[in-house]
Amino acid sequence: METLWKLNKLSKKYFIRGLTGAEEITALDSVEMEIFGGETFGVIGESGSGKTTLGKTMIRLVEPTSGEIYFKGSKITGMREKEFIKLRRSFQIVFQDPYRALNPRMAVGNAIMEGIREGAGRAQKKEKAGHMLELVGIAPERIDDFPHQFSGGERQRVAVARALSTSPSFMVCDEPTSNLDLSIQAKILNLFIELKEKLNLTYLFISHNIKIIEFIADRVAVMYAGRIAEYGSTARVLGNPLHPYTKLLVAASFFKKTETDKIPYKVEKQGCPFSRLCPDVREICRKEKPELMPAEEGHFVACFGFTNNFAEY
């Protein structure tokens, strides 16, 4: 398969005011990965682990602090805006927050029509927009309604309809179905899959719902504290999780109590970020950061537990 995206030591730092003075937040920490053309690449991980930042950085809505991004072999970090703009048109994002993503003063039909590529006449565009609404389970009669007249889940679906109607080639889907009940969620997921096959789309699909990732993603990356803890084929990563954090995430469910009943927000600055909560922690984990290493064919993990001589640490 063709490599579409290649991320090389991609990092993003933010500086904020803390309780005791300036503080640094590492939203992305040396992220390295490849995304193949035509695949759905899933991203899961804790709230605040950098998933949204990753998606936004890839399509240059956020400038990385360091590292490089390659798209189809050309480096887009540092690319001049004039050149990048050609690419931008084929990139889309469904923002995590549909409320802020939609223009409150524009009827949803117009918002969708805006994205439909030139060529079609106004009447045709309007018809297509109505059809898009129908595909996401909204009555086409509502085409002239404004964003505030919709429910949370309806707004989310309008955002999906708008993004998909631009015929993108790459799309970041940031929790696109988080507000939807199961049956409508399934409808939208099936739509994503259908359009992917039709348009040869590639998705970066962010979700905290493991069941959804299992269903939709070919491969998946698990993020923790701005780093990729583990990545590989979805079946392998979720079926046979190797990183202790992934194990925790996969085992957690509302039907089963997890081992940690505390919310794991305590991230270690030094060493492995998961070391404070990790049940398998060793001395080395508190000192050094584990790098991503191949654990088996096409399955990478950043954990000292998978170095040959772990027993000695």
Partner: protein, 319 residues
């Protein structure tokens, strides 16, 4: 038992730019007992948020109360003046809103907004705020961050902290964990349970996630097209749903199928309030429909502790 919240035959409508007003809530009956949690589930667009906003007296400008009663601690609040209700809002009853960014003010820090929500002054407000931020899994530095500097799930948790800061008696939580990963969501649910135990919190918990609802609600109400179509214990909803819509919804649960299966959907047209089908509003999608379903609207039939609105269970017609 003492009731924390009681909604009786609530009707709410909206005025479209052109044409006649359209009913959204069509006679909603609900009640939450003291120290109880009731989950409100149902299809996207069925009227869950409108119900919640009606209780908070925060309906959008283009919406009207038509009929019905809302009682908070046995006190009818329908006719309370805004000035009066403001004393209740945030303290007796508070709400976690579905889309945090629409309620968080972009120009104030998260900390100052939570502080602002604290009723009454007195010492230790800041400490209390920071402690609560910690309890929802946020670091202290979030106190000084602006909403746009926070991730989606972090904003949601700031909203949760804001709603809990005054130890409200009744909490209306509108999809409070949608932006959270399971472990973090689990922590929030534990925190809410703890508040129920320690502070006698009662809750109306709106969620599309049935497995979450089952986990900690005593009763689940299922809404369809502006009405409660079924109310039953959490276990009953999961294992022996009565209403055909509930049955379909539950059959979509990921727990019910193995990976590799195609995810199920509920086929058919989603109802449009401007043009609701005659008779039972679910009939166009219902596999059990009979002749009467196309003509009449099913009324509320008692079933054990709960209710169901469906002619499968008797020909009780809505008055």
């Amino acid at each position: 038992m003492e009731k924390m919240l009681e909604i009786k035959k609530l009707e709410v409508s909206f005025r479209p730019a052109v044409g006649e007003s359209v009913k959204i809530l069509r006679g909603v009956n609900l009640s939450v007992g003291k120290n109880e949690s009731l989950a409100l589930a149902g299809e996207s667009g069925s009227g869950k948020t409108v119900t919640a906003r009606a209780v908070m007296k925060l309906l959008p400008n283009n919406m009207n109360f038509e009929k019905g009663e809302i009682l908070i601690r046995d006190r009818n609040v329908m006719n309370l003046k805004e000035q009066e209700f403001r004393k209740i809002r945030g303290k007796d009853v508070s709400m976690i809103f579905q889309e945090p960014s629409s309620y968080l003010n972009p120009v104030f820090t998260a900390g100052s907004q939570v502080l602002e929500a604290v009723k009454g002054d007195g010492p230790g407000r800041k400490e209390r705020t920071i402690k609560l931020l910690n309890e929802v899994g946020l670091k202290e530095n979030v106190f000084y961050q602006y909403p746009h500097q926070l991730s989606g799930g972090m904003q949601q948790r700031v909203m949760i902290a804001m709603a809990l800061i005054n130890n409200p008696g009744l909490l209306i939580a509108d999809e409070p964990t949608t932006a959270l990963d399971v472990t973090t969501a689990y922590g929030i649910v534990e925190l809410l349970k703890e508040m129920m135990e320690k502070h006698g919190l009662s809750m109306l918990f709106i969620t599309h996630d049935i497995s979450l609802a089952v986990n900690f609600a005593n009763m689940i109400a299922v809404m369809y097209a502006g009405r409660i179509v079924e109310l039953a214990g959490a276990g009953e909803i999961l294992n022996s749903p009565l209403h055909p819509y509930t049955e379909m919804l539950v059959s979509c649960l990921p727990e019910k199928y193995k990976s590799g299966d195609k995810i199920k959907t509920i086929e058919g047209k989603v109802p449009d309030f401007r043009d609701l089908p005659k008779g039972c509003s679910f009939h166009p999608r219902c596999p059990y429909k009979k002749e009467i379903c196309l003509r009449e609207e099913p009324g509320e039939m008692k079933r054990g502790e709960g209710i169901v609105r469906c002619f499968k269970y008797g020909d009780f017609v809505e008055a």
